[in-house]
């Protein structure tokens, strides 16, 4: 147990050092995820131009709050592990990692968590700046914050696992990057990056509730915007837990089968 804690600490510290080296890139990654910000601006302009200054009960500042919240949450959900796996499997650099007595997944977990720490300060600065510029106002209910954070953590875990499984597809196909892209599009669309889910066509909403995406992105954002209840948060957490279990198993199976393939033919 002590040994494990020590391992984890060293692992984490080196990853943090690595990420600190990439601090400029971290800020760039943050700024490159602009879809929510673009949508925010468009909807704000729409609301301002609409009669009554509202669309479906959202005024311009409320749009600002919602989209800034999705932006913030999406920043916490960033996962790049599938790119890394795709690269490692194709270049054969996965092999040395397989020689180590630890599942390489934990290395990736450590980098992602470490990166989140590097990200947090500039992230808060930027949210503050955008809030000030756009006139957004977040909820005053204190419980919404831990609830949103918890959902984001669960959402991150879910996303990490399915992205990991997608990355492992590189064992079989060269196009895991394309699949990743498609899944990202679905995540962004159903997560509510284009608009609050209620704005979507009926049939899209009906499909969306069966996926994890609205609960990992839209729901925590609504919590921060003060438009969701604690009960909804609880239900969302349950759904995410189920998905977490599902993807945990999926990832494990893909990993085992993939390794057998890798062992048999190389990559």
């Amino acid at each position: 147990m002590r040994a494990l804690a020590f391992k984890a600490r060293v692992l984490f510290a080196t990853r943090f050092a690595e990420m600190a080296e990439y601090r400029a890139e971290v800020v760039i990654w943050m700024l490159s995820g602009t879809l929510s910000l673009v949508m925010m601006l468009v909807w704000m302009a729409q609301a301002a131009a609409a009669p009554g200054g509202q669309i479906r009960g959202y005024s311009a500042p409320e749009f600002a709050t919602y989209f800034l919240s999705t932006w913030l949450v999406s920043q916490l959900l960033v996962v790049w592990v599938s790119h890394e796996l795709d690269f490692q499997i194709r270049q054969g650099t996965l092999s040395p990692q397989l020689l180590r007595p630890v599942d390489p997944m934990w290395l990736h977990v450590a980098s992602h968590v470490a990166e989140r720490l590097v990200r947090i300060v500039p992230l808060l600065v930027m949210v503050g700046l955008f809030t000030w510029l756009s006139g957004a106002s977040f909820t005053r209910e204190w419980w919404a914050y831990p609830a949103a954070l918890g959902l984001a953590a669960l959402g991150f875990s879910v996303r990490f696992l399915y992205e990991y499984a997608i990355g492992l597809l590189a064992f079989w196909t060269e196009s895991s990057a394309s699949f990743q892209e498609v899944v990202w599009l679905v995540y962004a669309a159903l997560g509510g990056m284009f608009a609050p889910l209620a704005f979507y066509p009926e049939w899209v909403q009906r499909v969306a509730v069966w996926t994890p995406f609205p609960y990992m992105l839209g729901l925590p954002a609504q919590l921060l915007a003060g438009k969701a209840t604690l009960a909804q948060a609880g239900r969302g957490a349950l759904v995410l837990l189920v998905w977490l279990a599902v993807f945990w198993v999926v990832r494990l199976i893909v990993w085992r089968v993939g390794l057998r393939k890798y062992g048999a033919v190389g990559a």
């Binding site: 510290a13 080196t14 943090f16 050092a17 600190a20 080296e21 601090r23």
Partner: protein, 347 residues
């Protein structure tokens, strides 16, 4: 675009007081170190090359030796125009490399044993065709060169395989061919045989030699395999910590380095190191065979004495291997006086 050729004389390569300093950032290891360098980066200048001067005549082959980090690669990169010197003067084939004129680039090549230019997913032949276009090689010349290289390097059968499916050695052969396709007059070879087996090293060497003779090309070669250097180069340049510490032929390097010759004995009766110590230094005894170093001037005298006083089955006198010469050169410089390394790691 002929470049100004004035003042270069007829040396193929002319280097005067060449210098290069790298600015490097430093970071302490670990978490605190990252945090600190997060806030402020410390930097300092590494003097990789510190006042190197030499001339190479057209057609000359020179071995460029030195321990790791001596500045060999840095020098070669400056000679090929990839790095701008921080001081001094360079002329290669009459050009100033730093200006990277096309006419200059057509005259030279740089082979880096650790890097590759071939297109990974395609057969090497495709990369050759790309290079043909880039260097504007006429078809006839291209075919002739390919024929020549195919014969000398034994490329038969590997040109149409995807590069990623070639073995390291095969790939290196193709790399060499790609790098020399435009028939450069000046070749800079940076560890061209790294990681290759003895046979493959042999064929790379043979190829370079053949090319040198056929096209009267100037070759500057670095390698940590001494056999490369002894097989190809008569002249040796030794560089250490950015300075030339030796420039001359192989034989003279042996003299300068060891100052003595190695005497090898096969004995019929075992002898103790103390007994042998009277005849020379650095005595090594292993059962019935023994080895000792004898000052150059005293070789015949000591050999006669050995034959007279011991029961010797066989006696040979050799120049010390270049490995041990290098080891003693750098061993001495490193300040461990009179303690040459036992196993002569190639410096």
């Amino acid at each position: 675009m002929t470049g100004d050729r004035g003042g270069a004389g007829d040396a193929a390569v002319r280097v005067r007081d060449l210098r290069k300093g790298y600015v490097v950032h430093e970071k302490e290891p670990g978490f605190l170190g990252s945090l600190r360098s997060f806030v402020s980066r410390k930097s300092r200048v590494v003097e990789a090359v510190r006042g190197v001067s030499f001339d190479l005549a057209p057609g000359e082959v020179v071995g460029f030796l030195g321990p790791n980090g001596a500045g060999k690669t840095t020098t070669l990169k400056m000679l090929s125009g990839l790095l701008h010197p921080s001081g001094g003067e360079v002329r290669v084939a009459g050009f100033e490399p730093g200006r990277r004129e096309n006419a200059f680039l057509r005259q030279i090549t740089l082979v880096m044993g650790q890097k590759q230019q071939l297109i990974w997913d395609l057969p090497a032949l495709d990369s050759f065709l790309v290079n043909q276009a880039i260097y504007e090689i006429p078809d006839a010349q291209f075919r002739a060169t390919m024929a020549e290289f195919t014969e000398v390097l034994g490329l038969e059968g590997i040109l149409k395989k995807q590069v990623r499916k070639l073995s390291l050695g095969e790939r290196m052969k193709c790399e060499l061919a790609a790098a020399l396709l435009h028939r450069p007059k000046v070749l800079f070879l940076d560890e061209p045989t790294i990681g290759l087996d003895v046979n493959m090293q042999e064929s790379v060497r043979a190829f370079v030699q053949d090319y040198n003779v056929r096209h009267n090309a100037t070759v500057m070669l670095t390698s940590h395999y001494m056999a490369d250097v002894t097989a190809l180069a008569r002249r040796i340049l030794v560089i250490d910590r950015g300075e030339v510490v030796f420039d001359g032929d192989l034989a003279r390097l042996a003299e300068q380095g060891g100052g003595g010759k190695t005497v090898r004995l096969q004995l019929r009766r075992p002898a103790t190191p103390e007994e042998l110590g009277r005849f020379g230094s650095e005595v090594r005894v292993d059962g019935l065979s023994a080895e000792l170093t004898v000052p150059r001037a005293l070789v015949s005298e000591r050999a006669a004495a050995l034959l007279a006083e011991l029961d010797v089955a066989d006696l040979t006198v050799e120049d010390p291997s270049i490995e041990s010469v290098m080891a003693s050169l750098f061993g001495a410089r490193a300040g461990q006086a009179g303690q040459p390394e036992r196993t002569p790691e190639p410096a």
